[in-house]
């Protein structure tokens, strides 16, 4: 999350997630750790899934090490692979595989078969829903892992260079979020060992409200109406059920409710952000204005500023929307002198509903500047929801003390 915020505000990338290998290797241990946290609860309550908990613990630590190897050895091509060194990579690789073989060796040699009956769960119980979502998380992990390391395997085996981009991950992950979100909504309402769905009517009403709300919000916004309606409805369903729990149960199992609420908020923010975002890329010179369907961008002037280690070109833009409301944005180009590096500093106007983001670049040998203006809804909610998720995880550490 911190990396995302840094890339968004400091580097001016204009987004929060690009499925870059470095981002992926930080996501993978998070997935296994989340699965592990849930399985530990099952282990605590039912004394089941012992082996799975051990495997998840090993996997989580191994994947963290694997991340270090992938991004610091130079084996992968990424914008993040700075400070890499193949010679150091060999040491990390040996350490990584020694770690894997040793830990799995110890596990397989000393592991004793559990009483099978403890692993037989009733189909409608909390542990079953946790187990099913564990499978989903392992599926997400497999997709991310394959997408990240497959280019290396292909390069070594057939000398063919490919890069796996966002469409691969989105096509394989996003549809499976629907059952994942539904199980997240229903799971906490179930009891351990054997359960039945209580308050069915309330659940059905919440689900219908979620579907109707989604349909009315997005009916004119996307071409893929059916898919997005189902997906956003599932996210709204989780949002409303956790919100309800937050008010009804108050401080009972607050860590779980806060995390699930944060996750629903995260999915909703990401989905609305991707559906409603708009972008304009154009070349513009001083004194010129650019009209687009939602308003006008006016390039007013540029100023120069000298600092001890860089010179800066600060541009002044006035962006007028359809209602006549004007905002002033001042993106910057910095030319650092030791060594000579040109960087673009975006100007971002953040509100609770949307971010207005403007970044500019030089066009060589030309009086024109290249600008990228983006309107990105609910950006701030993405950061808030991740904070809530982290807060929930942190609370679970001190659960017994609360």
């Amino acid at each position: 999350m911190l990396g995302s915020i840094w890339a968004y505000y400091e580097l001016g990338w204009g987004g929060f997630w690009f499925w870059d290998p470095v981002e992926n290797v930080s996501l993978m241990p998070w997935l296994t750790l989340t699965a592990l946290l849930h399985c530990i609860v099952v282990l605590e309550r039912r004394a089941a899934l012992t082996s799975w908990v051990v495997i998840l613990s090993i996997t989580t630590f191994t994947l963290s090490m694997c991340g270090t190897f992938l991004v610091r050895s130079g084996i992968l091509n990424s914008v993040h692979t700075f400070a890499n060194d193949p010679a150091r990579g060999i040491f990390i690789l040996i350490f990584l595989f020694a770690l894997i073989i040793l830990s799995l060796g110890i596990f397989f040699i000393f592991h004793k078969e559990n009483n099978k009956s403890s692993n037989n769960f009733f189909w409608l119980s909390r542990e079953t829903s946790i187990l099913i979502n564990n499978w989903f998380m392992m599926y997400f992990l497999s997709v991310v892992l394959i997408g990240t390391v497959y280019p290396i395997f292909l390069d070594v085996i057939s000398s063919e260079k490919i890069s796996v981009g966002p469409p691969f991950y989105q096509k394989l992950i996003v549809p499976f979020l629907i059952p994942f979100l539904l199980f997240m909504s229903l799971g906490p309402r179930l009891k351990w060992i054997k359960s039945k769905i209580e308050n069915k009517n309330s659940l059905i009403i919440t689900f219908i409200i979620s579907v109707m709300l989604t349909f009315f919000i997005i009916k004119n916004l996307t071409t893929d109406l059916l898919f997005y309606t189902v997906l956003i409805s599932a996210a709204f369903f989780l949002f409303f059920t956790t919100l309800k729990e937050l008010f009804i149960k108050k401080f009972n199992n607050i860590s779980q409710t806060v995390s699930h609420f944060g996750f629903s908020l995260l999915i909703l923010s990401i989905l609305f952000n991707s559906i409603l975002s708009s972008e304009i890329i154009t070349n513009i010179k001083i004194g010129e204005s650019y009209d687009y369907d939602k308003g006008e961008i006016f390039f007013k002037k540029i100023e120069e500023r000298k600092e001890s280690n860089f010179n800066s070109i600060i541009a002044s833009f006035e962006i007028k929307d359809k209602n006549g409301k004007t905002i002033k944005l001042k993106p910057e180009i910095r030319i650092y002198n030791q060594p000579i590096i040109i960087t673009s500093e975006a100007d971002i106007r953040t509100t609770l509903l949307e971010d207005k983001f403007l970044v500019m670049n030089l066009v060589k040998g030309n009086e024109y500047f290249n600008i990228r203006y983006q309107v990105k809804p609910f950006m701030v909610w993405i950061w808030i929801s991740v904070l809530l998720l982290s807060l929930g995880g942190l609370m679970s550490l001190f659960k017994r003390k609360i």
């Binding site: 190897f69 397989f108 390069d155």
Partner: protein
Amino acid sequence: MKNKFSLFVVVIFFSFCFIIFYKGLNTPNNYTPKVSERKNIPTFKAKDFYSDNLM
């Protein structure tokens, strides 16, 4: 017995991965920009100040 077989399979699988990563390290994918710099080294002739020999 089952555990030992599983361990054997795991060791084979990870050994394969190790070889792939090891070979991958030999051809690192570090990003290096394609910059072609052609420096023209100036050539000139001059006389040595003391001997009048051409340099």
